[in-house]
Structure formats: structure tokens, C-alpha cells
């Protein structure tokens, strides 16, 4: 019995969103009489940070403190239409819609303030702390709250904005069939170090080293959180998860949670991550988003590392000990490949 070390690498180019019907997302923003803002979305946040990022984007665009923005989402009965949270589209599509809506609402807010201050709305700026003042004359000011109340109770204005983001339809080149389904791509490169036991077929991942390029990291801690958790899921897809282990046929497969394997807290490997920020020209504040790309490079990198360790190419997932042992038998044993430092 021997344990063989292997290293594998993979680089990926990942499209942000898709182009089905322009892949639209909508956002509605409005001020409440207390000068705080509500962003209504139908985009789903199941822990990735959609709400937090929408909140940051809305606060930044409106020019108000982040505490004064509330994001109401995930009720498709009451929120404006959204294609959904998938294809790594959330930050990019929803973020852009939020910017459009927040800009419109900010315009009305400044008009309401201008009317109260008896100045031109074009001369007004926000300080991000809840005040609006004349550019260069901080003392000539009104709070966002007072302006919202004046709009509501005196001027009869709704401080609100509507936003939609739609990507341009890509035409298909008549001769080559070439098209560009999306407008932004994220990138990643990941190296996996692992070892394979040629007696049991067991794979132990020892280290992940990665670089992810995802536009501007709008919330760096949440980006890191996504990358760590997503890479774990990639490892799980590569080596563990399947609804039907075939021992020897699917009828003998897993029936419940108990038999659906995932790596536990003792199976994880250190992950050294580098985030490269290249703001996307059409991304909200340059953001593209981590999304599915967190997991994707792990699968080919693991398969390559297994080839590097024992010389067998496994091309179906997950790469279970059984598949490794069958492949080793067919090959007549492990044939470790060249290892580069």
C-alpha cells in the first residue's frame, strides 16, 4: 500500500448571469416619512449576502448612512420581478437595478430638499451622514429626514425610484455562430494538493491555493466567506456527493441524508485565497460577484491532481474510492506522473 501525492490545477472563465430574455432584475426604492429608505426586491438571499450588498449599493448611491436603508426581499408576490438568484448574477444584475432605482429616488430627494432650502437641486450634495447641503456651504443644509417629511406632508411628492437592468441582446455571427452571451466574466485559478491511497482508493485533500478575479469585492469579508464555503462545496462535488452510488446498481443507492455524503469538519483542507480586483466596466461599483465560480475550479483541479498522483483519468463525478480502485485495476496499478514544484 502506498499513498501517492498529487498536484492539479485548473483555470476557469465564468460568465456572470445569462442572456435569456435579457436576464432582467428590477428594484424599487422609496423613502419612508422618517427619512429611511426601503429597497424592494424579489432577489433571494439564502446567505450569500445579496441583501447586504444591495443595502451597501443603495446607501452609496442615495448618499445616506447604511443604517438608514432596509432591504425587503424574497417575496415575489410583493417585490418587483427578478429572474432569481442563480448563475452568479445577483450582485451584477440586482446591484445595477438598485443603482438605477436609487439614482431616481435621490433625484426626487434633492428636489424636495431644494424646494425647502430655496436653492437649485443641482447645487446640492449629500454628506452620507443623513444631511443634504449646498455644495461648498455646509451650513445651508437640511436633514434627509426633514426633506422626506416635507416631500410627504407638504409638497405631496413620493421620494421613490424604479430600476431595471437588462443586458443587451447579443447577435449571433451568421458565419461563425459566435456570440457573447453575457457582458462580464469572472476568472479563477486553483491548485489542489492531495494524496491518494492505492489500496483503499481514499483521497485526502491537503491544501487549496487559489486566486479569484471577481471585479471589485464590494464586501471583502463576505467574498471571502463565499470563496471558503464555495470551494468546500466544489470539493464535495468532486469527491463525495451523489444521490445514487452504484454499488452495484442505483437500487442500492442512498435513500436519505444518512447516505448522502459530504466532507465534514474533519475533512477540510487549508485554503489560501488571493482575491484580484479588476472592476467590471458595467458592474455595480465594478462588482461581478463570486457566485458559482467559488466551486467550479475545484472539480477539474481535483481530477487533475488525482491523475498527477496515480496516472488515472476519472471523468465522472464524484470521484469515489470505488472508481479509483477500478481504474487502478484496469491500469495495472498506480503510475505517478511528473510533479512540478
Amino acid at each position: 500500500m502506498a499513498r501517492h501525492q498529487g498536484r492539479g490545477m485548473a483555470s476557469i472563465n465564468y460568465p456572470i448571469g445569462m442572456n435569456l430574455g435579457g436576464d432582467p432584475s428590477q428594484a424599487l426604492v422609496h423613502a419612508n416619512p422618517d427619512g429611511k429608505f426601503t429597497v424592494a426586491l424579489s432577489a433571494i438571499d439564502l446567505g450569500q449576502g445579496m441583501k447586504q450588498v444591495s443595502r451597501q449599493i443603495a446607501a452609496e448611491t442615495l448618499g445616506v448612512p447604511i443604517e438608514d436603508v432596509y432591504v425587503d426581499t424574497a417575496d415575489s408576490d410583493t417585490g418587483p420581478h427578478d429572474m432569481g438568484s442563480f448563475a452568479s448574477r445577483g450582485t451584477h444584475r440586482v446591484g445595477n437595478a438598485v443603482i438605477v432605482a436609487a439614482k431616481e429616488a435621490r433625484g426626487v430627494l434633492l428636489e424636495a430638499a431644494a424646494e425647502e432650502l430655496e436653492v437649485n437641486a443641482d447645487d446640492l450634495v449629500t454628506d452620507g451622514k443623513g444631511n443634504i447641503h449646498v455644495r461648498g456651504a455646509a451650513s445651508k443644509s437640511i436633514t434627509v429626514k426633514a426633506a422626506s417629511q416635507a416631500a410627504q406632508f407638504k409638497q405631496g411628492k413620493t421620494i421613490s425610484g424604479r430600476g431595471i437592468f437588462l443586458i443587451p441582446l447579443s447577435t449571433v455571427h451568421p458565419e461563425t455562430g459566435e456570440m457573447s452571451p453575457v457582458t462580464a466574466y469572472a476568472h479563477a485559478c486553483l491548485v489542489v494538493d492531495l494524496e491518494v491511497c492505492d489500496e483503499t482508493g481514499d483521497v485526502k485533500v491537503n491544501k487549496l491555493t487559489s486566486a479569484y478575479e471577481l471585479g471589485r469585492a464590494l464586501n471583502p469579508k463576505m467574498v471571502e466567506q463565499q470563496l471558503v464555503g464555495g470551494a468546500w462545496m466544489g470539493m464535495s462535488h468532486a469527491l463525495y456527493e451523489t444521490p445514487e452510488p452504484y454499488y452495484p446498481n442505483p437500487e442500492h443507492g442512498g435513500r436519505d441524508y444518512n447516505q448522502y455524503l459530504m466532507p465534514g469538519p474533519g475533512d477540510i483542507a487549508p485554503h489560501d485565497i488571493t482575491v484580484l480586483e479588476r472592476p467590471a466596466p458595467d458592474g455595480p461599483f465594478g462588482g461581478k460577484g463570486p457566485g458559482e465560480m467559488c466551486a467550479n475550479p475545484v472539480l477539474p483541479a481535483v481530477a487533475n491532481a488525482i491523475f498527477n498522483a496515480i496516472g488515472v483519468r476519472i471523468d465522472t463525478l464524484p470521484i469515489t474510492p470505488e472508481k479509483i480502485l477500478r481504474a487502478l485495476k484496469a491500469q495495472g496499478g498506480a503510475r505517478p506522473q511528473v510533479r512540478r514544484a
Binding site: G47, Q225, M233, D256, N258, P265, G266, I268
Partner: protein, 160 residues
Amino acid sequence: MARMPVQFRLNGSDRAVFVEPAETLLGTIRRGLGDFAPKFGCGQGTCGVCTVLVDGEPRLGCLTLSVTCEGRSIETASGLADGPTLHPLQAAFMEHFAAQCGFCTPGMLMAAKALLDRNPNPTRVEVVEAIAGNVCRCTGYEPIINAILAAAQQRGARRA
């Protein structure tokens, strides 16, 4: 079958309920007593989201019969915070971004509390063992392990 009376402490308050003989502690806590912190995941003892403490020991609420809890002290994640002050574990989970969807979090917190209550200065391996029965789909475990270690360290620093 007749319902049976059971009395126990839940997060420090005495509670008395009537339960079916086959009722699980998780069902009693959630439906009977309205504490929705412990979650229902698999209902068969494999995911850990229903973890509660019974006399300080971590127990799977979905596999524990309520009638066996007569006279015992039950703790759930709802009892961790002291008014507006978070328990050190909750604060550390927040600091270390140890929750995403949060479905595993109440169980993780209770498994971690049981560990730190009996072993205030655990090694990384001991932390991993303590949460080995708790499944998390989102975080990749690393932030959870780091949060528990940080909470232990912080508690140690306060004691010193």
C-alpha cells in the same frame, strides 16, 4: 394513547406540558413551547440542526423523547443571549462570519457551548470532534471552527 404530563426547565424557566408518549423533545420545544431556535432537518439523527443541551450534554432533539426529560434542564440557542448582550459564542460567530443561511447555526452553537462548558480551552481537533455531528451546507466549516476557538480564547482572557 393518553397524553402524559412532563415538567422540565427550558432556558431557566420551569415549563409543564402534556406530550404524546412518542413525541420528540424537538417537537415539544418547537410546537408545544414555541421556541423555534432548534431546527428540524433530517429527523433521523444525521444533521445536528436540532441539537439542544439536556443537563449540559448535547442531545439530538429529534431522537430524544420528551417523556425522558422529566425534571431535566434543557438549553436551546434562544437562551444564549443575556438580554441585548450576545453570548461570547454568538459574538464570535458574528465576528468570524460563521453563518450564511444560518440553518445549522443554532445546533452548532449548542454543540460548541457543550464543548466549552466542559473544556474551556479546546484544541482544533477537539472543536472538530465536537461539531462532527453537525452538518453545514454553506460555510465549509472553517469559519465555524475559527469562531469557536476564538470564543474559547476570549473567555480564557476574561478569566485571566
